[in-house]
Amino acid sequence: MLGFLTARQAGLDDPLRLRRAESTRRVLSLTLNPDREVDRIHGNAINTIDIEVIEGRYMLSGGADGVIVIYDLENYSGKTQYTCKAVCTVGRSNRYVHKFSVETVQWYPHDTGMFVSSSFDKTMKVWDTETLKPAEVFEFEDNVYSHHLSPIARKHSLIAVGTKDPKIQLCDLKSGSRIQVLQGHRAEVLSVRWSPRHEHILATASADSKVKVWDVRRASGCLFTLDQHNGDKTKAASEAVNTAHNGRVNGLCFTADGLHLLTTGTDDRMRLWNSATGENTLVNYGKVSNGSRKRLQFTVSRGCSPELVFVPCESSVAVYAVHTGALVTMLRGHYNNVDCCEFHPDYQNSGHFFLRPFTFYLFNWCGVVTAVRAIRNVQSPWQANEPLPPDR
């Protein structure tokens, strides 16, 4: 580590390299944070969480009882022992609360004034954070499993919605109407995800074992379907042609650069695909146990080298290296099944990463070494050796 700091100081390395080295060091030493806790508001399973991308300060969580809570993750108290407080809650007493379990929540990608939540009560609500009232309600015919807003979109403000119906609906935030329907799947759509690289590319995963990649500007069908055997029809039984997995595909995640796509399925496998060609890179992660009948929310690290994927596996989180498939470690600490997890690249003194359990604890993991101050401003890394000022 000192080698990296000296090289940066002398100008031999560029700033990005030091940032990556520090991120990697923190991620590899992730342990359960004994000092930090999150307020327990949910009385039930927490299905989904999202951390906003602008500041990384506020976190949304959606529970099985329809309750949505917003937490403030910043610690201004000056003490190391800290509980992240809930800023506001859309509780059962709120007039507009969801009737059934909330399946997906997502902050509006460009600011925290708005967030979108979708639930098994067949609605998707766009909420105003200030007043906690829905500005827009989209109704569907079936349970909504997942929705996603593109994090990089400038030309469109579409929300892709995956429901029990095999058709994927695209809802427009600007006009408030359902403007497009993507047909092609044969069973319920469990997960949808926009590419972080191209704002028009959408990937969808369905219970019919297929993953399709779409360009929403195209009128005709999908761009391609992911095939686990890469077109080699001899490897599998003939029914399994053109499928991404041998079971329901319930998790989708693009890597941070958008060049690769990870999918998980109920056949207990995770596969890595080239997102441009749809080719299975055949990286073997081994058995990634997956019993979820709904969407599985998993996440990939950002800014580390090598990139790591965090997948909830029963009551712990398995950490794999994305490109080699090696199991790095298992993060244990939850008492019950973990439903989803979210990665936060740099947060105060350590790379935090939040887990969601099937019960109601939100655990918080951090790098062990907190004495080295955060490399916030990579232009002046020599500040990294300063001791922590007492008020932070």
């Binding site: 080698g3 590899l28 001899t234 490897k235 003939s238 073997n284 058995k287």
Partner: protein
Amino acid sequence: MNRKRALISDTFKVKKRRNGTQKFGAVNDGDGPTDVRSSLEYLMTLFPRKLFDDRLPPIVMKHQLYSVHDDKTLVDKELNKLRERGELLMFQLGFDSDAFGLVFASDYKTKVLAGEDGRPTRATVERFLEKLLCPCTELSFSKDKMLREFLFTDSEITHLVKSGVLTVRDAGSWWLSIPNSGKFTKYFLQGRKAVLGMVKKSKYSEVLKAELEERRTTSHVKFHMKYHIHDIVGAELVESIPTTSGALLRCVES
């Protein structure tokens, strides 16, 4: 390639390396280059030839290699290289879509031809094997391919199915298979179930690998104990945990 600067992933070793010379519980050192071929040959020695009256070539399952080597992707790549060179053949054994059997091409050829001795279908089978080993990386064949590329007639295809080299997959396509391997599959699954049962019935559903190897096997377990242990560890039906008294096998809850 001589690197002037260290890679980030090398500095922070992604896999934690244990210090010291004594690695408890570790069967093989992860540092050397993975020699898949020698582990294949070792696993082939565990296969009981006498049980099948020497009619079957030694078969090893692909996931047994995962229990010997750490990096699954590397093992897959090496196997593909061997298959492309025509030294190894892979078969879909039918009981699990993920379970693949591996046989050395030379062994396969000798055993199949030995089995065909004296039968009228010998010539067809020999022709098929010539076409197969040159080199072929496919697990199944469609009717189209057989008729056009390999220039076999319908009756010849029937001969091949009768002799056991091809098995029906669905209308118009066939899996490549090993003749007389039905007994192998039966004993294999029986033995796997028995060994798993032994692990499950132990206190806390875990047993030391060395102790399991020493145990008296019932009549259900016809193969060598080590063969079955490699199988269940590689298929991730049990977890192998390194302890100070050797490797411990613990049942994976599912």
